[in-house]
């Protein structure tokens, strides 16, 4: 007998959970780095255009597909896609990307999340408080990651302990299900996260000119680094690609997690207003708060010449090396450090539980097993996989996982779902589906954006990325000879994981047909 499906307890609950999935490390680290690396104000114009033409439409599409699939007791993309295109026997296999992608991201994301927990603890116990220069802070991070033995750490053991704690926290949230675990957690974690971010943003924005001998190094100019518009850069395709990529990352669209969350809605529940509310919450966290912390703070303490260099060192250096040094210049540095890493940790957990949910839901729905058993199987498999990211971090494994899970799958999945919804399902039916039970009327021009503009935009991005980035990555250009075997092993492992999921989909559909349940 089929068991009763879990549901959301409240409308605010799913909005908090979707916003929690979207608000992650990317809002506070990736966004400022991307903006700073791509011309500051020049980046923000394509960013907002991509938000309107790609981000918001895909958000609505994913919510609607998810709720539609949920009506056929499918919480994940293979089932949801098959419900939309019944006649096609292969479309369910495209849906595997919606389980595979989040699983791949989760493998390294949980580990990075555990660094945030560790650093918030280190901030409180003042473990790094005496460090005042960039190279020593870098050594602290490398020692913690187990990439070298030094005066700060002699083994990877502390990092591994924090990883286990983080992993257990995630599983503890997941085991209680949608309503009792994810919803409850996100409903308190999201407001706390916003309070932490507001305190930090107010502190940074009130810094003024910390060094009076350098009057140009002030907060106003720090904000100007991000916001002064530079229209001449708009012809640069790289900036448009970076802005579109950021929109994908930040909204968690094209991953499959929103589809899964929305599958627990009832047929008459609204998706239009709820989706837009989650977008607005994410943008508040990113554009208002995320933009007001890292870059302006780095600007006033390190100056305009250094900021480009700091941004080019990447998001992790900015978050785990530069930010602790910046807080070291301020009173109550341990509290500010705790708030910063606590904020990142909460943002991380609300995202990682969403990344885990599609695989767990797949086991529950398609193999009809209990939540507890599904979480146990999932925990055993992902714990084993995470070890690859932990112990081979220095071999480029995390970058490789990020490319396939966090870039390739994302754009491909978004393209498939938009074409499926707008063309195969049919835009008229799709429009009706989005508005079923809706608490707002979406402007009519979005019908044409979903049907024409978004797919063309996505295909253009896929094409441009293929030429600019994918070929060099597939050929492993720039990868050292020593690291190539690890990259190859990661690719083989990912291919096997996809194959296993494909076999599971085939088996699950066979079971459904034999048991007389609607294969749809």
């Amino acid at each position: 007998m089929a068991k009763k499906r879990d549901t959301w307890g409240s409308r605010l609950g799913i909005i908090m959970a979707v916003a929690g999935s979207a608000v992650g490390l990317g809002n506070f680290l990736r966004f400022p780095v991307q903006a700073a690396q791509n011309g500051g104000g020049a980046f923000m114009i394509p960013y907002f255009i991509a938000l309107l033409l790609v981000g918001i439409p895909i958000m609505w599409v994913e919510w609607a597909i998810g709720r539609y699939g949920g009506g056929f007791e499918h919480s994940t993309a293979p089932g949801a896609f098959h419900s939309i295109w019944e006649k096609n026997r292969f479309i369910k296999y495209f849906g595997i990307i919606g389980i595979f992608g989040p699983l791949v991201i989760l493998i390294y994301y949980t580990y990075i999340e555990s660094w945030c927990l560790a650093y918030s603890f280190f901030a409180l116990v003042q473990k790094y408080s005496g460090i005042i220069d960039q190279s020593k802070m870098q050594a602290f991070l490398r020692g913690f990651q187990g990439l070298e033995r030094n005066q700060f750490f002699t083994s990877i053991a502390p990092a591994y302990v924090f990883f286990i704690i983080t992993f257990l926290i995630n599983m503890a949230v997941l085991v209680y299900g949608i309503r009792g675990g994810i919803e409850k957690f996100c409903k308190w974690a999201m407001p706390v996260l916003f309070v932490f971010a507001i305190i930090l943003a107010v502190r940074v924005l009130s810094l003024g000119t910390p060094d009076v001998s350098k009057p140009a190094w002030n907060i106003s100019n720090g904000l100007g680094y991000l916001w002064n518009p530079d229209l001449s850069q708009l012809k640069n395709a790289k900036i448009w690609l970076a802005a579109t990529g950021q929109i994908f990352f930040t909204l968690s669209v094209g991953i499959g997690v929103i589809l899964t969350y929305a599958s627990y809605l009832k047929k008459g529940d609204d998706v239009a207003l709820s989706g837009l509310t989650a977008v607005s919450m994410n943008e508040m966290a990113e554009v208002v708060l995320g933009a007001s912390i890292v870059i302006p703070a780095a600007f006033v303490f390190f100056g305009p010449m250094m900021i480009g260099k700091i941004a080019s060192a990447g998001a992790f250096d900015l978050g785990f090396v530069t930010m602790p040094l910046i807080f070291g210049h301020m009173p109550f540095s341990e509290i500010l450090g705790f708030l910063w890493f606590g904020l990142l940790f909460l943002a991380g957990v609300t995202s990682s539980v969403s990344l885990a949910q599609p695989a767990i839901a797949f086991l529950e729905d398609e193999f009809n097993i209990t939540r507890q058993k599904a979480v146990a199987v999932f925990a055993a498999v992902t714990f084993a996989l995470c070890n690859g990211a932990i112990f081979f971090l220095g071999r480029g494994v995390v970058d490789e996982l990020d490319f396939w899970g966090g870039t390739f799958c994302l754009v491909l999945f978004a393209t498939v779902e938009v074409i499926l919804f707008g063309w195969v399902f049919g835009i008229e039916k799709a429009w009706e589906e989005v508005h079923h039970g809706a608490d707002m009327r979406i402007p009519n021009f979005y019908k044409y954006i979903i049907k024409y503009v978004t797919p063309v935009f996505l295909l253009a991005v896929l094409g441009a990325w293929f030429i600019q980035k994918w070929l060099p990555i597939i050929r492993m250009d720039g990868v050292s000879g020593a690291n190539r075997p690890y990259i190859m092993a990661t690719r083989v492992g990912l291919s096997l994981l996809f194959l296993v999921l494909a076999i599971m989909v085939k088996v699950a559909w066979g079971r459904r047909e034999r048991s007389g349940r609607r294969a749809r």
Binding site: G224, W227, N228, S280, M284, M440
Partner: protein
């Protein structure tokens, strides 16, 4: 920051905060807006 920088930032923040406020107030009221 230039004058246009201030305008761009404040308009962007204003639009996002207004959107969030309108969306949340409607979600909390469960108001239909057809």
């Amino acid at each position: 920051m230039t004058f246009f920088g201030w305008v761009f930032m404040l308009v962007s923040w204003g639009l996002i905060l207004t959107l969030a406020a309108v969306c949340f107030s409607r979600v909390l009221k469960k108001k239909k807006i057809d």
